[in-house]
């Protein structure tokens, strides 16, 4: 075979997923022979494999926008050719300098992901209020607000795509998109302050540090996730009544612990703020 084409991560993820679907390759070859529309068949197979995780009214639109943006980068034709053994592919780096392999985390192209996420956030009142509250809670600092936002979206991801049926490319593409979001820009927008895009001394001092606020936020998200996970078993008919009761009790305790931790955290923060004001 003489033809080979360079393709990026998005295409390789789709190709690898498609190669593992029983019967899909044979079907694509058949479609190609009959109508040369195997690209459409691959797209529809992939769309059909995405579970209904994006129906979540709060977070669904935000993640869906990011996933669709990544899927738009797939070279469908080359993926089909490599599946049908019509041409070979090799891995090339993306032209986007913000992608893995070329260093910088936040590139000018990160604007696309940031704009998409911002649009999705502002379209959901509950989400924008929730995030605004979180960002304001870390002393109005853009840098720390950005860290919290990043953590928030990364930790909600497994909650959303934890179903067994969720194909690996969904998770990987969402992670790719989240890595390209300019979180400081988003935090500044939520705080209603201007964002210069330049690194500040605060960034340098705080970068890489997991401070107490972030640690507490992580714990709260984890307990929320644990409560949701355990709660799924409460109505599981395959478990005995006794077991379901245990699950219900633990899920309830997760909720109570979450509320109590939030209360304590707010209290501590209030005390810290008061001490700072006194000084």
């Amino acid at each position: 075979m003489s033809k080979t084409f360079g393709v990026t991560t998005e295409t390789f993820l789709v190709l690898a997923w498609a190669a593992r679907q029983p019967g899909l390759r044979e079907r694509l070859i058949q479609v190609h022979q009959q109508s040369r529309k195997s690209e459409l068949a691959l797209r529809s197979s992939l769309t059909g494999a995405i579970p209904f995780v994006f129906e979540d009214p709060v977070y669904g639109p935000a993640y869906q926008g990011l996933l669709l943006h990544r899927l738009a980068q797939v070279d469908w034709g080359f993926a089909c050719w490599a599946l049908e053994a019509y041409a070979g592919v090799h891995l090339k780096e993306s032209d986007d300098p913000g992608t893995t392999g070329k260093g910088a985390q936040v590139s000018p192209q990160a604007g696309e992901e940031t704009a998409l996420l911002w649009q999705a956030i502002t379209e959901t009142d509950r989400l924008v209020e929730r995030l605004r509250r979180q960002v304001r809670a870390v002393d109005g600092s853009v840098f720390r607000g950005a860290q919290l936002l990043r953590l928030h979206f990364l930790l909600h991801l497994p909650l959303l795509v934890r179903t067994n049926e969720c194909p690996f490319f969904v998770h990987e593409m969402l992670i790719m998109s989240l890595e390209r979001v300019n979180w400081r820009d988003l935090a500044a927008r939520l705080l209603g302050v201007s964002f210069s895009g330049e690194q500040t001394p605060e960034d340098d001092a705080g970068s890489g540090e997991e401070d107490e606020a972030l640690c507490a936020a992580t714990l709260l998200e984890l307990i929320a996730a644990a409560g949701a996970n355990v709660g799924e078993y409460v109505l599981e008919p395959k478990l005995s009544r006794q077991m379901r009761d245990e699950c219900a009790e633990l899920a309830e305790m997760c909720g109570a612990t979450l509320r109590e931790l939030r209360r304590l955290w707010e209290l501590e923060r209030g005390e810290t703020q008061a001490a700072l004001t006194d000084q």
Binding site: T9, F12, L91, E93, L219, I223, V230
Partner: protein, 277 residues
Amino acid sequence: MSKHPSWSCPVDSKTLVILAWCSTLDLRLHLERKRREQPRKRLPQLLDEVLYASIDDALACFDGDPIYGPLWVSLARYGLASVDVERVTSAIALEGLIEPLSGVFCSDDPYVPARQSGGPADETEAFWQAVTAHSPLAQRLQRFSESWQGDSCRGSCELRAFFLWYLERVQPYLHMPFFLRELLRASLASVDWHAISARVLQGPARPACCCDASSSQPEPRGVQAQILGEVFRLVDAEIGLYSSELPEPLRTQALFLRDLCRETARALQSCVTTTGA
């Protein structure tokens, strides 16, 4: 712009999955670091080393699963043995650093490297080698077998369901890269569960039968309870990880929740034992 190689190699879906995973790594950064460390070595050789090291790093995620981790490592290594890493790195271009030597395409008749002698012959042997080398795992399987009432068919059915389900559940907690999950799913699907359950029961291996272990039946109730118990143990460990650095009284609250997780896991276990669910 990188050159396009003049030929392509037929590969299987495992190789494509590993290439897809490679594409998510910062290969440029790793390769440049390697080149600084070993300037005399050829870049393709260094890229092979980068990939081997990255795979080893990925396998380290199983350290977080003290009971089943060695089993996952054994099965993953067995799956990886059928992937030619050099074939993978040959299909990678890093502009200004390395040119691709060949492309890849999906094939029913892929190139598969010869297995090195001395390794397990198949997935069942890889599974059993991990069990015999790791006593906590052997004890856990022994405990499972208490509810089988000597029936190896029931055991094989429960083992198959347990490990497939547990793999899905444990993945996010271990931050398992997707290529390992795909390899393990393929390996678990090839394990002869009748042979494993017979060995756990220390009975003679039975010929293959048409019981649930070879089909996609819903998980038995006992299996769900076992999995739920494992989930609680994982949640307990995860909360412990993040709560240790918290100030009081936040930490006390978190410890309280950990205790509850443990108690619930214990209560579930006693439910399984007393009801034989």
